[in-house]
């Protein structure tokens, strides 16, 4: 049982390692605090989008468990309300574990479980830390394992971030097409290996940049598709132990419904739990885009070099003083 010391504003929680004092007003609990002690690595916090995605999964899990009769209505409603608050961006300061952590993401999963449990306890009129009302492991994490929750919320997050990236790439594509039209009649020398070659129009060069970005946009779409296969329902090793068969069949559909994303369950949950080739695939797509952007940036730097001793073919907008010592630069 959790002991509360109101004068010190602390409550004492216990886990299988032992006991630990937790700030009385904290929504996280003992397992989160242990992770903070163990992993003070980057000095940064978990990505807010990852937290929101985890809350969407927890909400879907609670609803699914309720639908199959494994979680009562009172607890379900409280958990769902707590999740909705997190999805809306509340309690972000309660997610304190380092993004780089040992344990395959267990610390993040438990941080989320504890915050949701304590908020749900509060919603039901209890004192934080009274896990008989809502338990982080037995209720919030019911039918789940870190090994299916963490990969799944990571994938959902990647999809959301790729979506935002795609929007900016779309803007870049349009800007480049516009420039290619504007510069359509600007004749200049083309170069191969930095040696004079034959003429080309500046508009054609910008058109080529836009074509490369168009290709990146299409690749980002396939990256999103790659990330849309979740291993939820597989629990610890993909075999689905402790997840009801009905839960297994419903969980991803409910996550899709809640997130509004076209998510599907992985064809082979055991494969999806151990093989992470999808990430190098997506990272490779992002890298290819970065390579295109960097090549274009190199060209822009070269073409705008000067003003008197460089290529001097284009001007970039002047954004800030170039030098602290050289006047006029």
């Amino acid at each position: 049982m959790t002991k509360i010391d109101k004068t010190k504003k602390l409550r004492t929680e216990h886990d299988s390692i032992g006991t630990k004092e937790v700030p009385l007003d904290a929504y996280y609990g003992v397992q989160t605090l242990r992770a903070v002690e163990n992993f003070n690595i980057t000095g940064t916090k978990m990505h807010p989008e990852l937290i929101a995605s985890a809350a969407q999964i927890k909400k879907a899990a609670a609803i699914t468990n309720y639908e199959i009769g494994h979680l009562d209505k009172k607890r379900t409603d409280a958990i769902v309300k707590a999740c909705d608050e997190i999805i809306a961006g509340k309690m972000l300061d309660q997610f304190i574990v380092d993004p780089i952590q040992g344990g395959a993401g267990t610390s993040l999963n438990m941080n989320v479980n504890e915050v949701i449990a304590n908020r749900a306890i509060e919603i039901l009129g209890g004192e934080k830390g009274n896990y008989t009302i809502v338990n982080p492991n037995d209720h919030v994490n019911y039918g789940q394992s870190t090994n299916d929750v963490f990969p799944s919320c990571g994938r959902i997050t990647v999809i959301k971030l790729l979506d935002k990236a795609g929007q900016q790439l779309e803007r870049l594509y349009k800007a480049l097409v516009k420039k290619s039209e504007e510069f359509d009649d600007v004749i200049k020398m083309g170069r191969t290996q930095l040696q004079d070659a034959i003429p080309i129009r500046l508009g054609q060069e910008f058109r080529a940049y836009s074509t490369a970005i168009r290709r990146d946009i299409a690749r980002f779409e396939s990256a999103k598709q790659e990330m849309s296969k979740l291993n939820m329902g597989g629990t610890a090793v993909g075999t689905g132990l402790n997840a009801d068969i009905q839960y297994c069949q419903k969980i991803v559909k409910n996550i899709a419904l809640i997130s509004g994303l076209p998510l599907v369950q992985a064809y082979d949950l055991i494969d999806a739990t151990q093989n992470l080739d999808g990430y190098p695939f997506v990272s490779g797509i992002v890298k290819a885009c970065a390579v295109n952007l960097s090549k274009m940036s190199n060209d822009l730097r070269l073409m705008s070099s000067g003003p008197r001793t460089g290529f001097g073919e284009i001007h970039l907008p002047e954004k800030q003083n170039g030098s602290s010592i050289m006047p006029g630069r």
Binding site: L161, A165, M189, G190, A197, K287, L300, K319
Partner: protein
């Protein structure tokens, strides 16, 4: 004034390329039923995608949209280049073209002036051949003129 926006895009790209190596190594390191290294995969992949997004945003807003061309300078570079001899080559033949090109490189004279001096083509003909559009599209630049001219050695 420095090309600060392309410079920041370059650096974001370098970091993404590094992250890709980390992600690849972490993804490779799975054992049996689980790969325990998703925390760093996510951390770095999120960073890659998000920094790329922000880099592209500033590239559009603070660079691409405001780029202007040094039109006259670019045109002069073409006029004074030796590279345009490639467009003239089908009309005068490779051998003569090569002699003109060599002289241009050696003396700094313009291809146009040398072609006119040697009476190889007229000013009007050169204007047609060296048209910016036809010179930068597939085929022989000034093809209608090419078809009308008699007996050029390379003509097919």
């Amino acid at each position: 004034v420095n090309p600060v926006i392309p410079e920041v895009v370059n650096q974001v790209a370098f970091n993404i390329i590094g992250n890709d190596m980390t992600i690849t190594m972490a993804a490779e390191a799975g054992q049996l039923e689980l790969n325990a290294f998703e925390p760093i995969i996510f951390n770095n992949l999120f960073q890659s995608i998000e920094t790329l997004t922000n880099a592209v945003r500033t590239l559009v807003d603070n660079c691409i949209t405001g780029i202007t061309a040094n039109v006259e300078y670019c045109r002069n570079m073409v006029e004074n280049s030796v590279g345009i001899i490639t467009a003239i080559c089908p009309f005068v033949g490779y051998e003569k073209a090569a002699i003109v090109a060599k002289e241009a490189i050696k003396t700094g004279a313009s291809i146009r002036d040398l072609i006119l001096r040697d009476g190889l083509l007229t000013k009007e003909q050169l204007d047609v051949i060296l048209n910016p559009y036809s010179m930068t599209e597939p085929g022989i630049s000034g093809r209608p003129l090419f078809m009308k001219l008699p007996a050029i050695q390379n003509k097919v």
